[in-house]
Structure formats: structure tokens, C-alpha cells
Amino acid sequence: MTPPEIHVSVNNVRKQYGKFTALDGVSFEIPRGETFALLGPNGAGKSSMIEILEGYRDRTSGDALVLGVDPAHGGLDWKARLGIVLQSSGESGNITVREQVAHFAAFYPHPRDVEATLAAVGLTEHASTRIKALSGGQRRRVDVALGVIGRPELLFLDEPTTGFDPEARREFWDLILELKNEGTTIILTTHYLDEAAHLGDRAGIIAAGTLLTIGAMNEIGGADARVPIVRWRDANGPQEHRTTEPAELVARLYAQVGSEPEGLEIIRPSLEDIYLSLVGTHASAPTAAQSNDETPAQPATVQPQASTPTETSLV
């Protein structure tokens, strides 16, 4: 096998539920060791895509290979190489955390150490608690522990941090980065774009069953979508300008005004901004009805749709 080995390859996959097309010819590849974030709004086809790769659903047409095996016909040996963290489930949980993790460990040929895994997901002090007595976020950690206990080569994480508090999410990220360092290939779906940006090497954005764009985290959406935005206020009200040379613009502004421009900010569009503009354009999403009270729209400004830019740098 030649490096980089391809762990997941999807070619023109379609999925039809009756007349509804959930996936309309999706293609992508994930090499070994990559963390790939599959992003998209609810109902876009993310879950269908993931479940086809996990072997839970059959595709209508197209080709798919997961660890070299057609996921529609994956046997037990194949499953032993996967780790699957499903979206939250409602299992009754009349079993303690340690019992559950140890029990699942027995399914796999080369499981991780149970205690070490419990420690890694931060559940050591709850190891003797029954799962049903845990909080939502703690149950999610059990899900993750069960997903990684078999030392998977490929790990599916379907909205893994829903319901986590910010601190728990940070800890979870560290855990995932550790798995990544061990060489685990990871497919991640999430609604938290900062999570995708933090963990992912590449991302694909899917909407209405189509892959809109795919690329490295810092390139996705194309160069245009990443042009920094400079905002300030002058006598005519709020101003906004997009330029690849924001420092030059600010310097010019400063020279003109002769003083600190009011409300000056330089914004580099975050993954979330890019995502929203892509998905929004595609779905001709809810109109810009949420008008900003103080913003008489400036002509000729290409603005990412109403969103809160998250990476703000003040000059």
C-alpha cells in the first residue's frame, strides 16, 4: 500500500428515500490519519452520508470504500477497525460506566486499557456510577469511550460535543487531538464551526445533498471568501470595506481623518462566516430580515450573511 493510503473513498454516491433525494452524487476521499469535518445544516444529508459509511444504511447508487471495504457488506473484522460515536441515544443505562466500557472492550481484538480510557474521557470519578444517573455531557463521554475503546483506525464522531459545557468541550478536543496524533483517521460532523476549525484538517460542506465545497480548513470557500473586512464609523455612518491589504487601508484612513477612526475593526472571516455565506447562498436562506438598526446598507459591500464574526482583531 502506497502512502498516503486512502481510508475513505466516496464516488458519486446517491441516496434516495422514496422521491426525496438525500444525497445527490457526492464524491470525496479521506487519506489515512486525516481529520475530516463534514459540515452542513440539518437535513442536508450529513447523517445519511455518515450512516452509509458506517454500514447502517445502503446507498442507492455510487461507490464507497471504507478501509478498503464496501461498507454495505462490512463483516465483523471490518467493524473491529472502526469506532462509531453515534448521535446521542437514549439507552436505559442500568449498568455502571466501568462495566459498560469493560464489556465493550471484550468485543475487540486489541482494546485500549479500560481505566486509561476512562481517565482520558474524564470519567474516572464516575466509573462506578450507573450510566442513567449521569448528566447528558457525561453520557456523551461514555459514548466517546465506547467509540475509542477498540483502538479504531477510523473513528466516526457524529456531533460529539452537543450538550457539553465549554470546559468539557476543550477537554474533549484535547482527547481527539491525542487520537489524531496516534494516527487515527477521524470523520467529524458538528454544528460548532469553531470545533471543526480546531480539530479538522479538511472540511466538506454539504447542503441539500450536494457537496458545495471541500478543502483544507484554511482554504475552504476560496480566497475571495477570506478577504478581510475593515469596518469603521464616520460622519456618514458605518462603513465597511473588504480588502486583502487591511493595514494599508487603515493607514490611509488614519492619514485622512487625522485621528483614531471610530469603531475600527479588522475582521478575518472565520470558518463560521464562510460556512454561513456558502450555505446561505446555496439555500437562498432566510432573507436578511434581521436588519441591523444602525446599518443603512452600504452599496458594493460583499458581506458574509448576518453572522457574528468570531475572529476579531482590533488595531
Binding site: 453515534l86 436505559s92 449498568i95 468485543f107
Partner: protein, 270 residues
Amino acid sequence: MNALALGLKRAGYENRVYFRHGDTLFFTFLFPVVMLTIFSVAFSSSGNVGTNPDGTGGITQAAYYLPGMIAAGILLSGVQNLAVDIAMERGDGTLKRLSGTPLPVLSYFLGKFGQVFVTSILQMLLLLAVARVAFGVELPTDLGRWATFAWVYLLGIMTSAVLGIALSRIPRSGKSATAVIIPIVLILQFISGVYLRFQGLPEWLQTVASFFPLKWMAQGMRAVFLPENFEAVETDGTWGLPAVALALGIWLVVGVIAARYTFRWIRKDS
């Protein structure tokens, strides 16, 4: 670890979970004991059953109801327990999670059988103990009768277990599982000679009941626990044990085939 060893591990796990689950513990495990107690106490004023004109040969209400409750216990521990349990596991995501792991289906089944076997043996012991200690029922002393008990029980519990797996496909969701399964099991108990005297039912209803396994389990258990003078009131004046073996055997085969071909970890594409 091979499928067999994993099956044993599953059985331990399943049993642990079973006894931590209040609902099943009451409606499946303790139910026959509770019913035996209620019937024995409620009808105690009616005196003994099957007393000869000379005042001999009668047995207490508890002794009379014991075989039926034992048969019901077998049905509940197999059919009701597994059908509801597996339908709920399919509904709440347990099966989906398991099917994403390298756990063989065979091991999963072995685990369920192990759970059914252990819980139903304990249930039998509890029923017999309550009958003996609380209601003074005289248990058979004859080895031949206990041999009959052994094969009727084994055939009955295996049949019930595989039928439970097959029936688990019927409820559309985990929440509807008890609502769908319990009526089936309850009706069978009423028409198969558990709560009502079988020979007292209209003939057509007896015929209907004969198509289902519970009637045969109850009949087999009457042969074990009732005195000989009760044999005369059975159909054709005999316990009909060969027919019991044949009927349960056929249901076992049907159940194995149905379980084998209908079981799915998840409802794909629902």
C-alpha cells in the same frame, strides 16, 4: 474472543441489567408469583378442587393453580421478556450501537438465552418455594414427574425464547413494545388454562388455544403437578404428553426459523 465466550460474557451482562430493571422484574419475573398468591388467597374460601364424593383427593386452590402459573412464567420469561426487551433495545439505540461493533449476532442471542434461562430458573424456584412454604402445596416426590418437568420446561423455555426474538420485530417502536406484546401474552394466558380451567372453555376456544404453545406447556405442567385423579378430566382422559412434545417441538422449529430470518439489528432506512 470467540462467539461462544462472548456469548457467556453477554449472558452475565444481560442478567445484571435484568435485575436492575424494575419494570421487567415485576411484570415478568414476579408476575406469576403475584398471580398465584392472589388466586390462592381469593379462592381459598371456595375450598378444595377436585374432591371425590367420599371427601378424598381434593387439592388446594394453590396446588390447582401452580402448574398454570409455572407455564405462564415460562411464557413470560421467554416471549414477553425478550420481545419487549429487544424491541426496546432496537428503539433506544442499544442495538444500533452493538451493530457498529464486532459483536457477533450469535453472541448477542446467546446472551439473551442465558438471561432467559437464569431468570426463568430462579422464577421457577421462587414459584415452587412460595407454593410449598406459603401455601403448603405438596410437590411431586416421584422422579418420573420431575423428569417430565425437566423436558417440558426445557422445550417450553427454548420455544418461548426464540418466539420472543421473532415477536420483537412487531412493535414499531420501543415505546409501543409493551402495549403490543403484553395483550398477546395476556390473551394466551386466559385461553390456555392458566387463569381459567381449560376444560371449562368452549370447545372452539380450546381448539384455538391448541394452535399456540402455552396451552401445551400448561397441559404438560398439569401432568407434573396434579394428582392422578385429575387426568380423567383432560381431553381424551389423558395428559397427552406425546402431543405436548410434538406441539412444542413444532413451535420451537418455527420459532428458530422466524428468529433467524426476521432479526435485524436496526430498521434500515426508516
